[in-house]
């Protein structure tokens, strides 16, 4: 796209600015409630608001689906995100790269630590089966992956990883009520520092409410959120290993990396 071209939301023709939204208001369904929903959208800065559906979600709650127009326009050229310079490698190519450049299996440990019992995330990344047709790390012949399961104490995960000189440690946090995931993740980083492994290993955080920025703030090297595929994590770890080995420049970017 040409530099300086503004972009707007696309409904069914260029620049019409149409968006859809849904929300609930804690009021009984009534004409007044529909008017409230319209005003609500207008206060969001939207115009030509059409409250398409107003549904009695319960006696005192109404669920709305609305369509409206927004004038918001963005300067595409001014959006600053690192360009992808390295294409993500597929299963066979990544294994071949490890064999050739690292020359040994890459060791990865993962667990749901703290009180979290939900292993669905760590299983999707580490177990053979993987996620969404993308193989898990256990399936890669050039990875040695250990999934310790759920409710693993942070210190135990670090101890086990250190014994095997792991290249990377994955912490999965699914339960996020009252920010319990942040408290536990901070504690993990403290433990890692205490054990002196925070500089030696790549420490990764994953979960449905995790993003890269949050993970960096908490002291991890990267964070992986919803939709992450095992191959994204595998590529990231291999590049980290190569950078530690001095075989790849630091600060390079590639497809699928957390941003």
């Amino acid at each position: 796209m040409a530099a300086g071209t503004p972009i707007r939301a696309y409904g069914d023709r260029r620049d019409d600015g149409v968006i859809q939204l849904s929300f609930t208001l804690p009021v009984p369904l009534s004409e007044k409630a529909k008017e409230a929903a319209k005003l609500f959208c207008q206060k969001l800065g939207l115009t030509e608001v059409k409250v398409a559906a107003a549904e009695r979600a319960a006696d005192n709650y109404t669920f709305f689906i609305a369509y409206a127009k927004t004038h918001v326009a963005l300067d595409w050229a001014a959006i600053d995100t690192p360009e992808l310079v390295i294409k993500k490698l597929g299963f066979d190519d990544l294994n071949a790269l490890i064999e050739k450049e690292v020359g040994r299996r890459v060791v990865v440990f993962g667990a749901c630590t703290g009180t979290d019992t939900h292993t669905v995330g760590i299983d999707a990344i580490l177990n053979m089966k993987g996620f969404s047709g993308d193989y898990g790390l256990e399936r890669y012949p050039w990875f040695e992956a250990f999934n310790l399961g759920s409710q693993v104490p942070n210190a135990e995960l670090i101890r086990r990883a250190a014994l095997k000189n792991a290249d990377a440690v994955l912490v999965s946090q699914v339960v996020t009520q009252r920010d319990v995931h942040k408290d536990n993740s901070r504690q993990f980083i403290e433990e890692a520092k205490k054990a002196g492994v925070d500089k030696k290993m790549t420490l990764l955080l994953g979960g449905p409410r995790v993003d890269h920025k949050l993970a960096l703030e908490l002291g991890f090297h990267a964070g992986f959120g919803p939709g992450t595929k095992p191959s994204d994590v595998a590529n990231f770890i291999v590049h980290q290993v190569l950078q530690r080995m001095g075989k790849e420049q630091r600060g390079q970017h590639w497809e699928g990396e957390p941003r």
Binding site: F63, V175, P208, P226, G227
Partner: protein, 517 residues
């Protein structure tokens, strides 16, 4: 019914195998008790409340008896001794027992001991009668306000605060929910005590306490009357306090409980012996209180692959059924669990899911069955997820599921918003209404994909049952046959709470429960 697929003789053979597999475990159950079973006995006598530092009185008392090395005679025996010492109340009994050097207490003369036991038995009978009266009150309300048609639409609330849960549960009931589940705070299953009182702080859910049960059931009674439709309540009888939760739920008139003979072993790493003993007593209570249990086979195929491990679900269902029957549960109380979890990127998944659900229906024609929605392969594209859930709605009504946990389109993102439940309930009501009777209109060809797949799964399920029979359940679990999880007999949490019963072990509630029809 959609299919024979397999012969009645084959199904009967599977039941025989399940009986042979579980029988040796009952040899173990009948010789042992646990701290949690003994605490349940004391709760039933009316010991409630907490001592200093917030520890439940039943824990203080049982820990004291265990430390003195005398718990193997049964907490009921020592409760009786405390009454004989002149205890005027359960609390007083706790104080007397924790003060006396029990190990030095002289045995009673035989006649006196027999008289004491008779007194305690009479008290236990009265307590059982009171529980039955409470259950009868629940049943009367169910008769006055009949439930909607099956599949009963089951939704979850999980705010952490029981009072917020009440608001969400009422809203869900108003939107058409038939069953409300209050998800427990994460890791409650690993607490070796039941927290006390109303709670407003939880993580990923709300603590299961007797008071929280009472608050929620009271709100749903009120809502049932308003809606003129009985709304059921369920919670989780799993973990280290299976039996205590079952008692609290029965007392507070809950309708269902998640209760699985092996779930704790596999997915919470609770000791195998402990779990088998606790599940038996908890299921005896469920049987008496007319509670429908929900088993947890759906969990196997969120860890293992749903296509490859489909047979483990069937195998486990037969084992769970046998454990349940052995504890006095009737078929109408068996919400046998399974789920819609095959990777949707594969071809033919609607047919494969139908095949599995039809096979389960074929094997358990008189059980309500509990159907679980997709979770593992849910995407953050809520529109796709909604369509995906609707397919499970269709399979549920096609196979006459008694209970259907509705999928949430935001499954992969956050605990459900109020509107997410509304949208799921509206869609499920539509599908259930639209497709009712579809099973009677379409017969399934015996030479097609659905029947062939069902037979292939069946064959592997029977092989696994045969393996469990030949080598024992413990060995099969040790090999990771269920849910890809490996456990050993002496590993896991809670083994220290298992005791061999003394020759004169006394548990008048167990006597009552085992003689109940």
């Amino acid at each position: 019914m959609p299919g024979p697929f397999i012969s009645d003789e084959q199904v009967a053979y599977a039941r025989t195998l399940a009986r042979d597999i579980t029988e040796p475990i009952f040899g173990h159950i009948d010789k042992h008790t646990t701290v949690s079973v003994e605490r349940t006995v004391l709760r039933w006598f009316g010991v409630e409340g907490v001592g200093a530092m917030g520890a439940p009185l039943v824990n203080l008392m049982v820990d004291r008896l265990q430390a003195a090395g005398v718990l193997n005679r049964g907490a009921a025996y020592w409760y009786g001794r405390a009454l004989k010492m002149g205890a005027s109340s359960p609390l007083d009994a706790v104080e007397r027992l924790t003060a006396a050097p029990l190990e030095k207490l002289a045995p009673l003369p035989a006649a006196e001991e027999a008289a004491m036991k008779d007194e305690v038995r009479a008290e236990a009978r009265a307590a059982v009668a009171e529980l039955k009266a409470r259950v009868a009150k629940r049943n009367a309300l169910r008769e006055e306000f009949p439930m909607g048609p099956a599949p009963h639409k089951y939704v979850i609330v999980a705010t952490g605060n029981i009072y917020d849960d009440v608001d969400q549960a009422r809203a869900a009931a108003q939107a058409g929910a038939d069953v409300i589940a209050v998800i427990r705070s994460t890791a409650q299953s690993l607490l070796d005590y039941v927290p006390h009182g109303a709670t407003t702080e939880g993580y990923g859910g709300t603590y299961a306490t007797q008071e929280n049960f009472r608050i929620m059931r009271e709100a749903l009674d009120d809502e049932s009357k308003k809606l003129k439709r009985y709304v059921q309540l369920t919670n989780y009888s799993s973990g280290l306090c299976m039996a205590e939760i079952a008692f609290a739920a029965a007392w507070e008139r809950l309708d269902m409980l998640l209760n699985d003979a092996m779930y704790g072993i596999l997915f919470r790493d609770i000791n195998l012996r402990r779990t088998f003993i606790d599940q038996y007593f908890s299921r005896r209570i469920c049987a008496l209180a007319g509670i429908i249990i929900n088993t947890g086979e759906d969990n196997y195929i969120t860890t293992a692959d749903a296509y490859d491990a489909a047979h483990t679900v069937i195998t486990s269902q037969f084992i769970n059924e046998r454990f349940a029957h052995r504890a006095g549960l009737k078929d109408w109380q068996l919400g046998i669990g399974h789920s819609y979890e095959i990777d949707p990127h594969r071809p033919d998944t609607l047919l494969l899911e139908l095949s599995q659900a039809m096979l389960v229906r074929r094997c358990f024609p008189d059980a309500p069955l509990k159907y679980m929605p997709p979770t593992k392969h849910k995407e953050t594209d809520i529109f796709f997820s909604h369509a995906y859930d609707v397919m499970a709605d269709l399979v549920a009504v096609w196979t006459n599921q008694g209970i259907q946990l509705l999928g949430m389109m935001t499954e992969a993102m956050h605990t459900p918003l109020l509107a997410d439940r509304y949208v799921a309930l509206k869609a499920a009501s539509y599908i259930h209404r639209a497709a009712k009777g579809i099973d009677r209109e379409f017969t399934v060809r015996e030479d097609g994909l659905i029947a062939n797949r069902a037979r292939a799964v069946w064959e592997r399920a029977v092989k696994l049952l045969e393996e469990c029979k030949a080598d024992g359940m413990v060995a099969a679990i040790g090999r990771g046959r269920f849910g890809d999880v490996k456990r050993t007999e002496t590993g896991g949490k809670g083994l220290e709470g298992v005791l061999e019963r003394a020759k004169d072990y006394f548990n008048p509630f167990l006597e009552e429960l085992e003689s109940a029809k």
